[in-house]
C-alpha cells in the first residue's frame, strides 16, 4: 500500500480533487447528471488535456515547451483550411494538420538537442515563429471545418459515452506503449540524470527529440479539437494555452525538475482548471472572479508542493 501511494500518491490527489469538484459541479447544475451535461463538460477540457499530456512528456525529459500554445494555434489555423469537403479530403486534412504539429515539435527537439539552446529560450523563439506562421495561414479568425465530422467528435459514441472521453483516453493510451520502448524510457531517464543515461549508452538525443515531437503531436490534436468546437481557426489563442498547460502539469503532481511525470495526473489537472470555470458560472459568482479563483487554485497547488520542507531531515535536502 505504501509503495503504491509513494508511486501514485501525487496524481491520486489531483484525481480525487477532480472527482470532488465534478460531483459538486453536477450537484449544482440545473440539469444534473445527464449525458449532455457530461459531454459539454468533457468537450471544454479536451484541448487543454491533450496539451497537458504533451507538456508532461517534455517536462519528464527535464525540458519545457513554451511553443505548445503557438503550435496549437498554428494547427487550428491549418485545420480551418484543410479539414472540410469530402470524407477523403477531411481525412487528408487531419493527417496534414497532425504532420504540421509533429514537424513543429521535431524542430523544437532539433534546436534543443543540436543547437544546444536551453529549452525555455529555444521554444520561446520557435513559439514566436509558429505564431507568425499561424498569422500568415489565417490573418484573422475564420475559415471552416466540416460540421458533420465536428459533430461526431464533440458528441457521443452510440449515445453512451462522450467522444471527448475517448479522445482523452486515447492520448494516454498512445503514451503508455511509447513509454515502454527503449527511447520512451530514455525520455524519463534523461530527465532524471542526463549524463548517466548518456554514459549508459541510452539514445538520449533521439529521446529528447521524440519528447518534443510528441508534444507537437498532442498540440496539433488540441488545435484540431478546438476547431471541432468552434468550426473555425484563430491565430491568437496560443499564449494562454501555453501557461495553462504548465499549470495543468503542476496541478497534476508532476515536478518541473524532470525524471518523473504523471500523464493521468496532468489530464486531471487540465479538467480541474476547466471545471473551476464552469463552477463559477453555475454558482452565479461574478465571471470576473474566475481568473482570481484559477490563480488561487494554481497558487495553492504549487504551495502544497513545499510541504516536503517539513519532512527534510538534513538542510542540504532543501536544495534538491
Amino acid at each position: 500500500m505504501n509503495v503504491f501511494l509513494a508511486r501514485h500518491g501525487r496524481p491520486l490527489i489531483s484525481i480525487t480533487i477532480l472527482v470532488l469538484l465534478f460531483t459538486y459541479f453536477i450537484s449544482i447544475h440545473p440539469r444534473g447528471l445527464t449525458l449532455g451535461v457530461v459531454t459539454a463538460w468533457s468537450n471544454q477540457g479536451t484541448a487543454l488535456a491533450l496539451l497537458a499530456v504533451g507538456q508532461t512528456i517534455v517536462v519528464m525529459s527535464r525540458g519545457i515547451d513554451l511553443s505548445i500554445g503557438p503550435i496549437l494555434a498554428l494547427s487550428n489555423c491549418v485545420a480551418s483550411h484543410l479539414v472540410d469537403g469530402t470524407p477523403a479530403e477531411i481525412a487528408l486534412g487531419v493527417v496534414a494538420v497532425v504532420l504540421v504539429g509533429t514537424a513543429c515539435g521535431t524542430l523544437n527537439g532539433l534546436v534543443v538537442v543540436f543547437g544546444r539552446l536551453q529549452a525555455i529560450i529555444a521554444t520561446l523563439a520557435t513559439g514566436a515563429i509558429f505564431s507568425g506562421l499561424a498569422l500568415i495561414v489565417r490573418p484573422i479568425p475564420g475559415g471552416s471545418i466540416d460540421a458533420a465530422f465536428a459533430d461526431v467528435m464533440t458528441w457521443t459514441v452510440a449515445d453512451t459515452i462522450p467522444a471527448a472521453f475517448l479522445v482523452i483516453a486515447g492520448s494516454a493510451l498512445i503514451w503508455y506503449p511509447i513509454r515502454k520502448t527503449r527511447t520512451g524510457r530514455t525520455i524519463v531517464a534523461a530527465g532524471s540524470l542526463e549524463n548517466a543515461a548518456y554514459a549508459s549508452g541510452l539514445p538520449v538525443r533521439r529521446a529528447k527529440v521524440l519528447a518534443y515531437a510528441l508534444s507537437g503531436f498532442f498540440a496539433s490534436l488540441g488545435g484540431l479539437y478546438i476547431g471541432f468546437q468552434t468550426l473555425s481557426g484563430d491565430p491568437s489563442i496560443g499564449l494562454s494555452y501555453t501557461l495553462n498547460s504548465i499549470a495543468a502539469v503542476v496541478i497534476g503532481g508532476t515536478a518541473l525538475t524532470g525524471g518523473v511525470g504523471y500523464v493521468i495526473g496532468s489530464i486531471a489537472g487540465a479538467l480541474i482548471l476547466r471545471t473551476i470555470g464552469s463552477l463559477i458560472f453555475f454558482n452565479g459568482i461574478d465571471p470576473l472572479a474566475q481568473p482570481f479563483f484559477e490563480g488561487m487554485v494554481l497558487l495553492s497547488a504549487v504551495a502544497f508542493g513545499s510541504l516536503r520542507l517539513l519532512r527534510i531531515t538534513h538542510r542540504l535536502e532543501m536544495f534538491k
Binding site: 519545457i64 534546436v111 543547437g115 544546444r116 539552446l117 536551453q118 525555455i120 529560450i121 529555444a122 520561446l124 523563439a125 520557435t126 513559439g127 514566436a128 515563429i129 505564431s131 507568425g132 506562421l133 499561424a134 498569422l135 500568415i136 490573418p139 499564449l239 501557461l243 504548465i246 499549470a247 503542476v250 515536478a255 518541473l256 525538475t257 461574478d286 470576473l288 472572479a289 474566475q290 481568473p291 482570481f292 479563483f293 484559477e294 490563480g295 488561487m296 494554481l298 497558487l299 504549487v302 504551495a303 508542493g305 513545499s306 520542507l309 542540504l316 532543501m318 536544495f319
Partner: protein, 324 residues
C-alpha cells in the same frame, strides 16, 4: 588566488563577446534600414527608438538580476499593469498634486510587495520560480480584473508620470534618462557591492553559497523585489507615455524582456552575464521591430524574424561556449 577569480568574473573590457555581437547586429540593422530610408540616421529617429526601447530596457534590468540567480520572473505583465493601475487609481481618487503624486509611491509599493511574495515563494518555500511567479501573475490578474473589470477605473496618469513618459530634459526624453539611471544603479550594484557579487555566487551554486554562509535567501528575495520594482516603474512610465493605464498593458514586455537578457549573453542557468549585454539586447529587439515596421512588414513576419534572431544569436553563443 582571489585576484584570479575577480578578473574572471569581472572582465576588464566593458564590451564582451555577446555585447559585441549585439552591437554588430544593431549596426547591420541601421545600415539595412538606412539604405532604404535615409532619415534612419537622424538623431530624432534614433532618440525616438531609444525612447520606445526604454520600457523594455527597464523591465529587462529587473529580469536580469533574477535570471543571474538562475530563476525567472513570469509575473512581469501583471506587475506592470498593477503598478500602473494602482498609481492611476490614486491619481483618480484626488487630483490634488500632493495626493496624486503619491500614486507613484503606491505603484512602487505594489511592485515591491509582489516581488517580496515572489521571492518568499522561491527562496523560502522552495517552489520553482517559473511556476510560482506564473501563479502570482494569475492571482494579480484575478485581483485586478475582479476589482476593476476589463477596463481600469481611473486611468489618467499624474503630472509627474506624464512628465516622465513624454517630457524632455535638455533635448533628451525623460524616460531615456530614467532608463540610464536604472542602468547605472544596476551596474553599480552588480560590480561594486557585496550584494552584487553574491548574486553571481548564488546563481553559480546556491548550495555552495549557503555552505559558505552567504545570505542566499536574502539575495534571492532582494532580487525579486528589485525586479518587481522595475516592472511597476516601467508600467507607470508606460501609463505616462500612453496617457492612460489599461489592462494587458504589460503583456508585450514579458517574453521580449527575457529575450533581451538572453541575447545579451546572460545564461538562464544563472551565474554568468554582463549588464552591458542586456542594454544592447533591449536596443536590438526594439530596433528590429522598428526596421520591420518601417519596411511595412506584416506582424507575422515580425514574429518570425524575432524568433529566428534569437535562435541564431543564442545558438551562436552556445556553440562558442562548447568550443572554448
Amino acid at each position: 588566488m582571489s585576484d584570479v577569480s575577480v578578473t574572471k568574473a569581472r572582465p576588464k573590457l566593458p564590451v564582451d563577446g555577446p555585447t559585441l555581437a549585439n552591437i554588430l547586429a544593431i549596426l547591420a540593422l541601421l545600415v539595412i534600414g538606412g539604405l532604404q530610408y535615409p532619415q534612419f540616421f537622424s538623431p530624432t529617429y534614433l532618440a525616438q527608438q531609444l525612447q520606445t526601447g526604454a520600457f523594455l530596457g527597464i523591465v529587462s534590468a529587473g529580469a536580469m538580476l533574477v535570471i543571474l540567480l538562475g530563476h525567472i520572473d513570469l509575473s512581469v505583465p501583471w506587475t506592470m499593469t498593477a503598478g500602473a493601475t494602482v498609481a492611476t487609481a490614486v491619481v483618480g481618487s484626488d487630483p490634488q498634486p500632493w495626493i496624486s503624486e503619491t500614486g507613484l509611491l503606491a505603484g512602487l509599493l505594489v511592485g515591491a510587495t509582489i516581488g517580496l511574495v515572489n521571492g518568499i515563494g522561491v527562496a523560502i518555500l522552495r517552489i520553482p520560480s517559473m511556476i510560482w511567479t506564473l501563479a502570482t501573475n494569475n492571482v494579480i490578474l484575478g485581483v485586478l480584473v475582479y476589482f476593476s473589470g476589463y477596463y481600469a477605473r481611473a486611468s489618467q496618469p499624474s503630472t509627474l508620470m506624464t512628465w516622465f513618459g513624454t517630457g524632455r530634459t535638455a533635448g533628451l526624453p525623460n524616460i531615456l534618462i530614467a532608463w540610464a539611471v536604472v542602468s547605472l544603479v544596476v551596474l553599480f550594484v552588480l560590480r561594486r557591492t557585496t550584494y552584487g557579487r553574491n548574486i553571481y555566487m548564488v546563481g553559480t551554486s546556491e548550495v555552495t553559497a549557503y555552505l559558505t554562509r552567504l545570505p542566499a535567501r536574502g539575495v534571492i528575495v532582494a532580487s525579486f523585489v528589485f525586479a518587481g520594482l522595475c516592472s511597476a516603474f516601467a508600467g507607470m512610465l508606460l501609463a505616462g507615455y500612453a496617457g492612460q493605464s489599461y489592462q494587458r498593458m504589460g503583456d508585450p514586455y514579458l517574453l521580449p524582456g527575457i529575450a533581451a537578457v538572453v541575447l545579451g549573453g546572460t545564461s538562464l542557468f544563472g551565474g554568468r552575464g554582463n549588464y552591458s549585454g542586456t542594454v544592447a539586447g533591449a536596443i536590438l529587439i526594439t530596433l528590429l521591430a522598428s526596421v520591420l515596421s518601417i519596411m511595412q512588414a506584416p506582424e507575422a513576419l515580425k514574429q518570425i524574424a524575432y524568433g529566428v534572431v534569437i535562435i541564431v544569436m543564442v545558438g551562436f553563443y552556445s556553440l562558442r561556449d562548447t568550443r572554448s
